[in-house]
């Protein structure tokens, strides 16, 4: 990871979201899909902590070489401020941070499932998978049309795409889970990747476990530093041997996890079910099949 002062090359709104492109060759060279940036907030404001964004695009070659792009969903003081910064101003950024999605070695049929601006990092992944001659299909879900992130881009990157919106303003009305089973059937999904709100990821995890589909998900948990110092962004993850679970930091041990190992109920439920002691009920999970 590198700490850089990066010039903003361009900033523009994309539907309900806002996209920023930075000149940061040190980061662009190293970053892989799933990894994220920690962006420092301005001095003299009452909000302090860095804000964290998955990388949407890293250009290593061509006219845009050395740039990275990330997508902001404006919903609080920090993210609102980021929509107001202008091109040629600069941001203090640390990156690339966290773990990246692993590419399958043997399998070829990849289904990418995104809700909201989770699509930003999955489009980056889709590019890399296509470059590795994998088949990419997508489910892209959002509340409404303007929250479907770059649907045209999604269509360009995938063999087939299923767009679902909660209000039916674009694609099929419904949620991720309404579209997922059909897509898995019709595309012969061998591995699945997902990014989005944790409640959706939990449903996807349950589905993948039931169907025996190996998967990787990028989680979101409230984070203070982003570099592994503060232990706030933890997620309960079962040990490989099933001997118990640990609170792993989603900034350095994640954000990409094997969903079969995440204890979703313990993480998200207000009254999690008690774990058996000794916890032999915990899943024993094989590593990513490749």
């Amino acid at each position: 990871m590198t700490r850089v002062r990066a010039e903003i090359l361009s900033t523009r709104s994309v539907g309900a979201y806002h996209s920023l492109t930075l000149v940061a060759p040190e980061i662009a060279e190293k970053v892989r899909p799933g990894q994220f940036l920690a962006v420092q907030m301005p001095e003299g404001r009452e909000f302090l902590l860095r804000r964290h964004f998955a990388v949407h695009q890293a250009s290593r070659r061509g006219g845009w070489a050395g740039t990275i792009e990330f997508v902001v969903d404006p919903h609080g003081p920090g993210t609102e401020w980021l929509t107001s910064v202008k091109a040629h101003e600069s941001l203090q950024v640390v990156g690339p941070l966290g773990t990246a999605f692993a590419y399958p070695k043997r399998h070829t049929n990849c289904l990418l499932v995104a809700e909201g601006h989770g699509a930003a990092s999955l489009y980056f992944l889709a590019q890399e998978l296509v470059a590795r001659h994998k088949r990419v299909d997508m489910v892209v879900a959002a509340e409404s049309q303007e929250r479907v992130f770059k649907p045209i881009e999604g269509k360009r990157l995938s063999q087939t795409i299923s767009i679902v919106t909660a209000d039916g303003s674009l694609g099929m009305p419904g949620s991720v889970m309404d579209a997922l089973p059909d897509m898995v059937e019709s595309t012969g999904t061998e591995v699945l990747y997902a990014a989005g709100p944790s409640a959706t990821l939990a449903q996807i995890a349950g589905f993948c476990r039931q169907r025996g589909i190996p998967a990787q998900v990028a989680v979101e948990e409230r984070m203070a530093c982003g570099f592994g110092l503060c232990q706030t962004c933890v997620v309960p993850v079962a040990r490989k041997d099933g001997s118990g679970y640990d609170h792993l930091r989603s900034c350095v041990d994640g954000p990409v996890f094997n969903p079969a190992r995440v204890l979703w109920d313990r993480w998200l439920s207000e009254a999690p079910t008690m774990l058996p002691t000794p916890p032999e009920g915990l899943p024993v999970v094989r590593s990513w099949p490749g």
Binding site: M41, L48, C233, V235, D246
Partner: protein
């Protein structure tokens, strides 16, 4: 002023730091994270996250919420336990840092004694800091360090055992902070760290729920600085010959100088490190800039030099303890 030989080094009861700036407890990771982001050798010392006897998973999430100029947080002392810490984290922290001060946390006197025992004879340990903001299980009190007699009992036991300097980190909101400081100093600690953060609650009005998974937490960040300064000021007057280490809301060199004026010998930088990992170094640079501008040789030249009216006399709980 030419010819002034300037030095930032400070002696905290036996441990000599090259700069009076440390990374505060819980903000230094596990020894893997900081070396890539900041030159730790330029930082006076690193205080580790608080270590307990047994592994501790910590609080449910979310563990952090932003408040105006601050953060409300609760990690619940997540740590691997003293045995794993000593074999894994401690050597790694020591490899990159000038000094490692190990923060230890217990709920009984015995736990503090056993933790100190586990650190005995480890050359990587330059000092021990006592986390005293936890519950006292034996005496069934919510905060062990809020009581002078009990804080002194624990601090005394650890100080007698330890071969390295012991800092007592006292909760800054304790009612009789100067009295507790005097008691732990009498019991033998080398320095007092002021202080443990005040408890806090974040409320999310939209969801009608607390912002933290563990409901209540602690307040950190710049919002805390005036509280820290008051606590340091009153403590330093109560224990004038003992090093006082200021922690809470210090983000810049000027903040550190303010703490020195209030009576601090050194400072710890916590939340600021989480925002900018180079903060402990920039704070030290800011101190140097101030000293240069004033033509001073060392932070000791401003220590406790806050000009207070002579009529300002009776402080906090000083009288109650005599």
């Amino acid at each position: 002023m030419a010819g002034v030989s300037r030095s930032l080094s400070v002696d905290l009861g036996g441990i000599v730091l090259s700069t009076p700036v440390m990374v505060a407890a819980g903000c230094a990771g596990t020894g893997r994270e900081l070396p890539g982001l900041v030159e730790l050798r330029k930082v006076g010392a690193v205080v580790t996250r608080s270590i307990t006897l047994e592994p501790e998973r910590g609080s449910p999430t979310p563990r952090v919420a932003e408040s105006p100029s601050g953060v409300v947080w609760s990690t619940g002392l997540q740590n691997p336990g003293i045995d794993a810490f000593v074999t894994d984290e401690l050597p790694r922290l020591a490899r990159s840092s000038a000094h490692v001060v190990v923060s230890i946390a217990g709920n009984t006197l015995e736990e503090y004694v056993r933790l100190t025992g586990s650190l005995q004879g480890r050359p990587e340990v330059s000092g021990i800091e006592l986390y005293l903001s936890g519950a006292d299980v034996e005496l069934q009190r919510p905060m062990l360090g809020a009581h002078a007699d009990r804080a002194a009992e624990v601090a005394g036991a650890v100080a007698r055992m330890s071969m390295v300097p012991v800092f007592a980190k006292l909760p800054m909101h304790a009612t009789d902070l100067p009295g507790i400081a005097q008691a732990v100093v009498r019991a033998g600690v080398s320095a007092v760290t002021i202080g443990g953060p005040p408890p806090a609650l974040d409320v999310q009005s939209q969801g009608l729920r607390p912002g933290l998974g563990g409901v209540t937490g602690w307040l950190s960040g710049p919002a805390l600085l005036p509280m820290t300064l008051r606590a340091v000021f009153e403590t330093a007057r109560a224990v004038p010959n003992t090093p006082v280490i200021a922690v809470g809301g210090i983000r810049t060199g000027d903040d550190a100088v303010e703490a020195f004026l209030a009576g601090a010998w050194a400072v710890q930088v916590g939340t600021a490190t989480l925002i900018d990992p180079t903060a402990p170094v920039t704070v030290a640079q800011g101190i140097v800039r101030y000293l240069k501008a004033k033509g001073l040789a060392s932070p000791a030249d401003v220590r406790g030099r806050l000009r207070v009216p002579a009529s300002f006399g009776v402080v906090g709980g000083e009288e109650q303890t005599t």
